[in-house]
């Protein structure tokens, strides 16, 4: 006798699943990845491979031997964390640096909270900030490694534009002088930047990934738009008030991981709010904190810290920013 499946409705399911969503994010990262490989050659490949492999391995070992739960490494989420961490490091980082970062990202930031979806802070960013605090010299060495495809790098810069500005201002130079001395044109920053982490060589490649994520409905635009919009407005106001000391909008948006952070890190499902209202508050918060750190803090950039700080507010945002319910409430007793 044939057995029938009997289960409650609905009887069909959309084709989307956790794995396909994670795969889509990795696909969205591929333009940036390709540009990095073009500019940084083996260094970029090495970081991505070591990062992804370590993250997957750490998750496997913890699930299999420590927690004795089902191993879920084939949902690509651990691999994605590794790739994101690699893209957030300086291109000349040694292999052991990302190895340590990956262990911290998965072992501490993700698995101690219960694994996928349970973590409060973005694992890749926890890994990055851990490295930034533990290895400040390595994490701010922006020298460009030898590439396979491009020999004789024309501009070998040792610091990111933001760091150069910060140092220059501290040394008493005026902002227009610094910018002129280092030839930071918006065009250059949009297509190919000099200093910066592996994943943010080209703003255009990142925006391409953003469009892909929107088209595939993996993320909604609110968080990145809120972050970038806030940074734009805030820096515009500061820049208009005192152009000698405060950098302008285009410079701030195109440098220091704003695009990489707002498109790929701040939109991480588990560590970002659920509702549109929550997403906008969260994005504005990240923008404000980033600008404050850049203008008044001791770190030149600040996106990572801003995202991690706002990560902590997500449970509250979820609690107080409810979706609009259908129909108003009536009390029928």
């Amino acid at each position: 006798m044939r057995k029938l499946i009997v289960s409650p409705a609905p009887h069909i399911h959309s084709k989307e699943n956790t794995k396909s969503l994670m795969r889509d994010v990795i696909i969205a990262l591929s333009p940036s990845l390709l540009v990095s490989i073009y500019f940084f050659g083996f260094s970029a490949i090495k970081l991505v491979i070591v990062g992804a492999f370590t993250c997957v391995l750490v998750e496997y070992l913890i699930q299999k031997y420590l927690l004795h739960t089902k191993v879920t490494i084939n949902d690509y989420s651990a691999a994605l964390t590794g790739v994101l961490l690699a893209l957030n490091l300086p291109p000349n980082s040694p292999w052991w640096l990302i190895l340590i970062g990956s262990i911290v990202a998965i072992g501490i930031a993700k698995m101690t909270f219960g694994g996928l979806g349970q973590n409060v802070f973005n694992p890749a960013l926890v890994g990055r900030v851990f490295l930034l605090i533990s290895f400040p010299a390595l994490m701010t060495d922006w020298s460009i490694p030898q590439s396979w495809f491009r020999d004789g790098i024309d501009a070998v810069s040792s610091a990111t534009p933001l760091a150069l500005v910060k140092e220059g201002l501290a040394a008493g130079q005026s902002l227009p002088d610094i910018l002129a001395a280092n030839d930071f044109s918006a065009k250059q920053m949009l297509f190919v930047k000099m200093g910066g982490s592996v994943g943010e060589v080209s703003a255009l490649a990142l925006i391409l990934g953003f469009i892909y994520l929107l088209v595939r409905r993996v993320i909604k635009p609110y968080i990145p738009v809120a972050i970038v919009g806030t940074i734009f407005v805030m820096t515009l106001i500061f820049n208009l008030i005192d152009p000698a000391h405060f950098t302008g909008p285009a410079f701030n948006i195109l440098t220091g991981g704003v695009l990489l952070g707002s498109i790929f890190m701040a939109t991480d499902y588990a560590t970002s709010p659920m509702t549109t209202k929550g997403m906008i508050i969260y994005g504005v918060g990240i923008g404000v904190i980033t600008v404050l750190i850049r203008y008044f803090g001791s770190y030149p950039e600040g996106v990572s810290f801003a995202i991690l700080i706002m990560n902590a507010t997500v449970p509250l945002l979820n609690k107080y920013c409810k979706p609009a319910r259908f129909g108003k409430e009536v009390h029928n007793g």
Binding site: S7, P8, A9, H11, H13, N17, T72, P323, A324
Partner: protein
């Protein structure tokens, strides 16, 4: 301009395989098994006994409560037994089993094909006729129609909305009747408008049925008070509250009924049944059923008498497909899985859908990744992920009530969309029933 509801919704592939299949009259079989539980509410009480002769359209069950209705024989012949038989879920329900002899109809039923346009009846007479014809809503819940047409005295209906959206994938029963019998549907609407004493009606139809829209629009030229509204293709467009939002922009309050915003909603199939009951004296004992699924060799639309076993329908469409793994009475979003293939069709049966294991098997549940897709999909603006968490925590009924679990319309959008395959609706459904029970038992202030 296409109208739609504003909150949530999903876009499953509509798979209207039988949209062009003309309604065929299904042959009368040798035995009919007529259930006394045709709808929610109290089952009917059989008034025939073994050995009684019955004719088509004769009353065989009478209502036992307010939300209850008459049941009529769909065949003529001899009652061979009145006994509990398993329904489609396998639960025992009283059935009247009739051995068919010929096809002899009650004399008062007008079987001519002429369309009767005049409505010489008063509101009370119409409601009485609908009640006596045992008409129930054919849109899914099968709620007795006469109850809906008789709103409480303190509430006044302003509009009648006919639901022709048929947002369930695969099902084409309403699509076909709107193409083939638009005028009768609209006369049915006019009858209900008279019963409700309203002077405006809308028919909401999803955009994926352009021929039905065209045929209804043409027929509506003779009915200036009835407007055909094209709706966007989005599930659950045919949900009562969503349809009212789409068509009128009014939102039925939480825990409220459509009549609270001055609207009564009826399905187009119900409207056709109303026409036949009032103008042709034909009680409800047959309906259009779509037999469909990618694995079915011949997908067809049948005009089927109630009490036909599902297993016999299979014989008419080329037998049991080899890879069919799930039988569904209704559509894939809200239909019921059939556990007992020998169960028979009811008044509210709109489709018989066969799916393969690959199409329908649930995937393994993973961790909630907090993507928020369930919240985005919920047409009631609820947070299914949160309800799921509270349900699983156990004994959090107060919180579940605060989060309005009782507003869930069980459309299935959350479960459909969840990338981690969490059985959100299954869990919410069980706890919703519990919360509503607690709320009902609470002493009134």
């Amino acid at each position: 301009m296409k109208k739609t509801f504003k909150i949530g919704g999903v876009h499953p592939n509509d798979n209207k395989l039988t949209s062009d299949a003309i309604i065929e009259v299904f042959p009368v079989l040798d035995t009919a098994y007529i259930s006394m539980a045709q709808h929610l509410g109290a089952p009917a009480e059989p008034i025939v006994q073994k050995g009684d002769k019955v004719r088509v359209g004769q009353v065989i069950g009478k209502p036992t409560g307010f939300i209850s209705g008459f049941v009529h024989s769909s065949v003529s012949g001899t009652v061979t037994s009145v006994e509990p038989l398993p329904d489609l879920a396998g639960n025992p329900v009283t059935h009247v089993v009739i051995a068919v002899e010929g096809d002899e109809w009650c004399e008062e039923i007008d079987r001519t094909p002429d369309i009767k346009r005049d409505i010489p009846y008063s509101s009370e007479e119409i409601i009485e006729k609908i009640k006596n014809a045992g008409i129930v809503g054919l849109g899914g819940a099968a709620f007795p129609t006469h109850v809906k047409l008789n709103p409480p005295k303190d509430k006044k209906a302003e509009f009648l909305i006919l639901n022709g959206s048929e947002c369930e994938p695969y099902v084409t029963a309403d699509d076909r009747i709107m193409k083939e019998r638009p005028e009768e549907i609209l006369i049915g609407a006019a009858i209900m408008m008279k019963a409700l004493n309203v002077d405006k009606a809308f028919v909401g139809i999803e955009e994926n049925k352009p021929q039905a829209i065209a045929s209804m629009k043409k027929a509506a030229e003779a009915f200036p008070q009835i407007e055909i509204v094209t709706l966007k293709k989005k599930y659950p467009q045919g949900g009562e509250k969503q349809l009212i939002d789409s068509v009128t922009g009014r939102r039925v309050p939480s825990m409220g009924l459509p009549i609270d915003v001055g609207v009564v909603v009826q399905n187009v199939g119900t409207s056709l049944a109303v026409y036949e009951a009032v103008q042709k004296n034909q009680p409800l004992f047959e309906g259009v059923v779509t037999v469909t699924g990618h694995c079915v060799t011949e997908q067809r639309n049948f005009l089927l008498r109630i009490g036909t076993p599902f297993s016999k329908i299979l014989d008419a469409v080329g037998g049991l497909p080899k890879d069919a793994a799930k039988f569904i009475s209704g559509g894939p979003m809200m239909g019921k899985a059939v556990a007992n293939i020998d169960a028979s069709t009811l008044k509210g049966t709109s489709a018989f859908l066969l799916m393969t294991e690959e199409e329908t098997r649930r995937k393994e549940e993973g961790n909630c990744i907090r993507c928020g897709k369930c919240t985005e999909a919920c047409p009631m603006g609820l947070e299914p992920y949160l309800l799921n968490k509270l349900c699983r925590a156990g004994n959090r009924y107060d919180d579940l009530e605060k989060e309005k679990i009782f507003d869930c319309i069980e459309c299935g959008c959350c479960l459909y969309t969840c990338p981690a395959n969490i059985p959100l609706l299954d869990i919410i459904r069980i706890n919703k029933a519990e919360v509503i029970k607690i709320m009902r038992n609470r002493p009134k202030k």
